[in-house]
Amino acid sequence: MSPSCKIPFDSWPFALSGRVYGALLNQRSAFQSMAGQFEKAPYNAPPRAPVLFVKPRNTLAADGDAVEVPAGEAELEVAACLGIVIGRTACRISEAGALDHVAGFLLVNDVSVPHPNYYRPSVRFKARDGFCPLGPRVTPRESAGDPDALIIRTFIDGALVQTASSADLVRSVSRLLADVTDFMTLAPGDVLAAGAAAPAPRARAGQTVTLESPALGSLTNRIVAGAG
């Protein structure tokens, strides 16, 4: 994790492991935004398995941390995601039993340098230091409400720019967990971001991004100009 990161990894009810994975094209709007390109090069076919990425530990950041725009970039994409926090080792779990493996939920801001394609994007677009604010805490599953109806709003400088709901996921929380854990085990404290809506809002240095959910709280990060 980045040196400034103050994520409470020992937070109740379960410590986070620091391992964060995410799914792309898993909100209907995101899936639809690419549908016209599915059959074209370089993709040649629609995705079959979940389209996944890894946010390494240097990207983790907390509520209140600044996110740096690298030199030469005008703005960043901020992708508001529902973060699923694993509570019990999840390996080859069924859709029906998936939620038993979930400790709770938190907000994940999957920050990216904007990049045009999904074919083989450079890891530098998503893996920069501080590019994965998450929090503000783990809300236990029992108090989060229906996982298929969680609302997340994105505000930039106080203005509402996006409203997303887990009701609009292509693969629901349970379905996504079943499909991912068919080939990769998720451990307690691992986070799986369920996917963001399209188009992803963009923010410039000097702006403040807040993700807010009635059930999960709010996550605020200032965008600042980076050194390089």
Binding site: V51, V123, R124, M184
Partner: protein, 256 residues
């Protein structure tokens, strides 16, 4: 060189000790017990942080896959669930047609690295080990390649047997790599043929992400990747780092 092994209810540091015939087929635990290598369970030889892997980083392998020259390294990330140790077992799903090994030099970071110039890069290297980074081509999709279903499968990245201190390897840019399947050599290469060498990779990665102790870079594989099937014994060798053995197993061994 040292390993992490499980034996008799605990995890131990182990070092090689020659057998009667001179072969390094036995290990000595820190407490003095000497054991045959098949009597311990070999774990990945260090606690891995972020696992970074290179695609197409040998000119010959890039050509083998009909890939053109690149502007920047093709890096992808892996999670911890994919890591296993020496003498581990990797599953081959029944329905797949092309699963292959990849013998790679793994570079383990020892000191935090942020915006490190290539001339200073090697000071951040703690040591090396062998990696065998399996891929299942059948699952390759053109979305965020190489997708995790190909490259981040449980138990499909073997590391080991030893963690070898950087000081023990005189020239990491001139190491021979060899893979044997059931005793027959199928892959050979030399780290001098890396498209992006170790200092370049550390400079590149640390330009946008802070590398931490335990982070590991799997530097890519040369040409000679071939299909493997259940029962195959795959041995990857790198000069000075030992021999990393792995066995392919069918679904039934995993209760599927």
């Amino acid at each position: 060189m040292r390993a992490r092994v499980a034996y008799a209810g605990a995890i131990h540091e182990a070092r090689p000790t020659p057998g009667a015939d001179g072969a390094a087929d036995r290990v000595r635990l820190a407490d003095g017990r000497v054991l045959a290598e098949e009597d311990v369970v070999w774990l990945p030889p260090f606690e891995a942080g972020t696992v970074l892997a290179l695609g197409l980083n040998y000119a010959d392998h890039a050509k083998e896959l009909a890939f053109n020259s690149q502007e920047e390294p093709l890096v992808f990330l892996k999670g911890p669930g994919t890591l296993i140790g020496h003498r581990g077992v990797t599953r081959r799903p029944a329905e797949v047609k092309f699963m292959h090994y990849e013998c790679e030099l793994a570079v383990i970071i020892g000191r935090p690295a942020k915006r490190v110039a290539r001339g200073q890069a090697m000071r951040h290297v703690a040591g090396y080990c062998i990696a065998n980074d399996y891929a299942i081509r059948d699952y390759l999709e053109n979305w965020y390649r190489p997708n995790l279903r190909v490259k981040n499968r449980d138990g499909a990245t073997a590391l080991g047997p030893w963690f070898v201190d950087a000081a023990e390897i005189e020239d990491p840019s001139s190491l021979n790599l060899r893979t044997f399947v059931n005793g027959r050599q199928t892959q050979s290469g030399n780290t001098r043929d890396l498209i992006f060498d170790i200092p370049h990779l550390i400079e590149y990665l640390s330009s946008f992400m802070t590398l931490g102790p335990g982070d590991v870079i799997l530097t890519g594989t040369p040409e000679g990747v071939h299909n493997v099937v259940p029962g195959d014994e795959v041995v990857c060798e790198i000069d000075g780092l030992g021999r990393l053995k792995n066995t392919i197993a069918a679904d039934a061994a995993f209760g599927r």
